[in-house]
């Protein structure tokens, strides 16, 4: 091997030269290493582009994989032969065959222990491209390095959750390692719905490590308002533009509904530190679109507690007296503050606890509400002075909050002050 090749390799690896390297050799190698540093200096920007392009590319690949599936084999229905005795002789075995097939299906379903609830309402609850917040329990995990595929038993059945280096794992509002995603771990997954019952996780909040699998629920779409309908929000989804939202509402003593809610209700729900598990009641505004409802959502209080929704029925059975499962459930990180500075996708917020750095993911859902801004203006100087609520995870390297959801509020005259 060439002497300079060897010296360059040593210098790139260790940043030092062997003692016998001459001055001329050192100069030559240092100049080469300077070029290497320049190439390395662009790596962060390219990595940022790669991460930004990943959701769209993943969705494209997902569509490709689904489209590549072999078509289901055509069902061949043979014409029964009719003859003197044929009708009787062939009908009996055919009936037996159908019964056998049915029995096999039942047995297979039982053996595989399928937990998929693939009814139309469940499918509709997870629309491709939607943002989703969903609780569950990890039942299996595979993969290594940056990429993990986690099976989560959820109220919507078993869901595959894809986690990678861009996924923030949080536990007790601090960043946690991916090793916490072990079978038995209670989780709340926030991410984007991919095809085929998969979610690309943006943030996973991890809680109790030894929970039994979650039982899937059977959903019914709520089409007409029922009197005094109130329950617990189990799953929340939001369309890419934030205009459409749905919740899965578990109503004690009744059933579980898939409810389409208006944007204002979604916003109110997302303001809470724990949207999942919130006790809400269903209402319908005059002039609302068919099948669209509004929620009476408890208001966040300064001390972190919530008040019951005003129209919730006053039945003690609906509001748990002891800490509810929702209170024990892991939750995403929530930060509220006034926009003080913006640098590319990094926003500095003035909060009651001081300055907080927030990095807005490329795939973050930005809800401008009645702020007078557009979603695109969040990262411009126009957003300075606006109150925002951010939900998401934490960057393990910098401790910055990683925004999955940003709710833009009104511009405030003065920054938040400690009360």
């Amino acid at each position: 091997m060439d002497r300079i090749d060897a010296l360059l390799d040593i210098y790139l690896e260790s940043g030092a030269f062997p003692a016998d390297a001459t001055e001329a050799e050192r100069k030559e190698v240092e100049a080469l290493a300077a070029s290497a540093r320049l190439v390395r200096a662009t790596a962060a920007a390219i990595e940022a582009e790669a991460r930004a392009s990943m959701p769209e590319a993943r969705a494209r690949f997902d569509r490709f994989v689904v489209a590549s599936r072999p078509p289901a084999p055509p069902v061949h229905v043979g014409q029964p032969r009719r003859g003197l005795f044929g009708l009787r002789l062939l009908t009996v075995p055919r009936a037996l065959g159908l019964a056998t097939a049915l029995a096999v299906l039942i047995v297979v379903a039982g053996l595989t222990g399928s937990r998929l609830t693939s009814g139309p309402e469940t499918v509709e609850a997870l629309e491709v491209g939607d943002y989703v917040e969903m609780p569950g329990v990890v039942t299996a995990a595979e993969g290594t390095g940056d990429a993990r595929l986690i099976t989560v038993s959820s109220p919507l059945g078993d869901i595959l959750v894809v986690a990678n280096a861009a996924t923030s794992i949080v536990q007790n509002e601090a960043s946690a390692g991916i090793a916490t995603l072990q079978p038995g771990a209670q989780v709340v997954v926030a991410g984007t719905v991919l095809a085929t019952r998969r979610i690309a996780a943006q943030t996973v909040a991890v809680g109790d490590p030894s929970q039994p699998a979650t039982e899937p629920l059977t959903l019914k779409r709520l089409r007409e308002l029922k009197p005094n309908l109130a329950g617990t929000v189990v799953v929340l989804t939001l369309s890419p533009d934030g205009a459409r939202a749905r919740v899965v509402l578990d109503v004690p003593g009744d059933r579980t509904y898939l409810v389409t809610i208006d944007a204002a209700s979604a916003r109110a729900l997302l303001q809470l530190s724990r949207s999942l598990g919130a006790e809400v009641s269903i209402a319908r505004k005059p002039g609302a679109a068919a099948g669209e409802f509004s929620l009476d959502v408890p208001s966040p209080q300064p001390n972190g507690t919530v008040t019951a929704p005003p129209s919730a029925p006053a039945t003690a059975t609906r509001v748990p007296q002891s800490p509810s499962p929702a209170a024990q459930r892991p939750s995403l990180v929530r930060v509220e503050g006034v926009v003080a500075a913006i640098n590319a996708r990094t926003v500095t917020l003035l909060t009651l606890d001081g300055r907080k750095t927030v990095v807005v993911r490329p795939e973050a859902r930005i809800l401008p509400g009645e702020s007078g801004l557009t979603a695109g203006q969040l990262l411009s100087a126009d957003a300075l002075g606006h109150l925002v609520v951010v939900r998401g995870g934490i960057d393990v390297g910098t401790g910055a909050v990683i925004a999955d959801i940003v709710l833009i509020g009104q511009k405030v005259e003065r920054p938040l002050q400690n009360r």
């Binding site: 390395r40 200096a41 662009t42 582009e49 590319a57 995990a141 290594t144 990429a147 072990q182 590319a344």
Partner: protein, 195 residues
Amino acid sequence: MRDREEGQHGRGMQPADPESLARRAAARDEAAWTLVFDGHYRSVFAFVRSRLGNPDVAEDIASQVFEIAFSRADSFDYRGVPIEGWLIGIARNLVRDHIKKLVRRGLEAELVEAATPAEADQTATIDLRQDLSQAMQGLTEDQQTVLSLRFLLDKSVEDTARLMERSEDAVKNLQRRALSAMQRQLVATGYQEDG
């Protein structure tokens, strides 16, 4: 956002077994392909992006890499080249074809980093990327590849040798010649590190 090395030995986590993953990928196991995509997309994108001036084209080509790989999964010999090497190989071919098309159409300028700054870039980084992009065009394909693998994707000499199917000594030599050529190109384009 997380440490790349962490958490590989968690309780209940299935062991890291690249050959098992590759075998499943070769059988078009969709779950395996989810892992393959999430594990390698950013590297493939970065490799392609380092050769082309347009991030949208890079995304398109990186996407094509996975589509082609999935389509040809049954021909992938998982006992030979690692999956990443296979994907990078497909990416190299696609980039080569794309560059040939641009050259045929007289559109070589599109290979150089566009002047429009990307949202997340700092101005100094953009200038540097434009200069480097310009300088890259004066390098051979192998030289560009070795620089991308070593200094953008941060691969070791050993990994680079495996991905390029060369000896480690050959990679060290190619790396030196590539950096030397890059240095000459940067000087020729008037680039100064401090400015």
